[in-house]
Symmetry: C2
Subunit: 226 residues, 2 copies
DNA sequence: CGCGTCTTTGATGCAAGTCAATCGCCGTGG
DNA sequence: CCACGGCGATTGACTTGCATCAAAGACGCG
């Protein structure tokens, strides 16, 4: 881990992300003022379930995985955060205790903001409070989606869903690069890596080609039917 | 469905529940003023996924099940709400569209509060905003728990967890009545009713007796080990 | 080119969903 | 009071989807 100075590029990433976009620029700047930047490498642990956390985390680059571990040591991802996303925000309203483990999933630059400061701001500035509320609702919906997906869909269906979610809307055939390792995607979808692999094979006959991280979808409608 | 007048008992239920307890009584009264009360019977549908919703719902008695349906018609519960709980609050920050279906799971009395009014209040009154934020964080944690539970635990483990969550803390042996039908519990835990039934049998040898809705746990530590 | 890591493939086992039949409980009506 | 009917719960037999373990293959990087 290495601390860094925040560049103007970093500022732009943050002020452009979903959470900050709702806020006046001056408010965003105020929140970011005093943020601590650090470089982390893959497999670094940011915190563990039950730890006391006094910061909110912002991903400037790279990837962070939030997961819980079962009694038998198995891990289940409850969230994966990429550039421009923020996590750990709910702990500041839950006694400042982490509800999951956070592990860096690829070399990353991560900013921390003092959560007490942010909380006070949320209490005094209605804009900030509003931004939090919307952010939390959005997060809640995603978790609901995830749960429903887990309970209703088979592995190939989940993968098809994910692919469709990456589809620029309107296009019937498209191509993109997975933003992370397949094993990470597997975790995100609640699958073992082997299951993801098999799901991709199953989707091949519905017009999905996979070469390394490059994915090609020939007909999105075939996926929707799946 | 039959509309009713709100009684002082109803008021007490609501002002005593988690969400309103954070607020000054006068604020709670202001929110509740103008709430519409109605009696619903089992299997009534309150709304469907995608419907436009202009209310927030409060359960005064009975039970409501929130669920999504898959393409094949199978249903997956994403929430079950009992007396004193509130739902539908996130739709007002998500374009007023329901993200799931709501069905009354047993004869219930349900209040509705105009969500626009509530939203305005959240924007102008920092107490209300704060209450929402905490409520949403709490909700988020529960969903995270649910997801992790789905991915990490077997059916008997989930049931054991649920039983422990009902245990008055400190007691090693206890007894209680299920607050709803077993099939509802099954849905809540993401299981088919048959699987719940089998899970109960499996737990019998760990000191769990089931007679109708009455549950008796002889040794909570045996469950914790499970 | 060679090594390590990630991914794929194959074989096997297990947990839970499904379908179907039975049982138990409770309320109704004779 | 008992017989009946209906609904929910249980049990059994079967099927399926996925995890797991193990081995081979592909890819990226030095």
């Amino acid at each position: 881990m290495k601390t860094l100075q925040m560049t103007s590029i970093d500022r732009n990433i943050l002020t452009g992300c979903r959470f900050f976009k709702r806020l006046p620029l001056s408010t965003a700047e105020a929140i970011l003022h005093g943020a601590a930047l650090a470089e982390h490498e893959k497999y670094d642990s940011l915190f563990r379930q039950g730890d006391r956390i006094d910061d909110v985390f912002l991903v400037l680059s790279g990837l962070v995985r939030l997961y819980r571990v079962g009694k038998d040591g198995r891990e289940a991802d409850v969230g994966v955060f990429a550039k421009g996303e923020l996590f750990g925000e709910d702990t500041m309203f839950l006694g400042y205790r982490a509800t999951a483990n956070a592990e860096v999933a690829e070399n990353s630059v991560i900013a921390r903001v003092d959560s007490r400061k942010l909380r006070q701001l949320a209490a005094s500035d209605p804009d900030v409070a509003q931004a939090f509320i919307e952010h939390l609702c959005h997060r809640g919906k995603m978790k609901e989606d995830l749960l429903a997906q887990d309970r209703l869909l088979t592995a190939p269906q989940r993968v098809a869903n994910y692919l469709l979610s990456q589809c620029p809307n309107g296009s019937t055939s498209f191509c993109f690069r997975l933003p992370f390792q397949k094993s990470v995607l597997a975790g995100k979808l609640g699958l073992a890596p082997e299951a993801l692999s098999r799901a991709f094979s199953a989707l091949r006959e519905s017009g999905v080609s996979v070469k390394g991280r490059m994915i090609e979808i020939h007909d999105r409608h075939a996926l929707e039917r799946f």
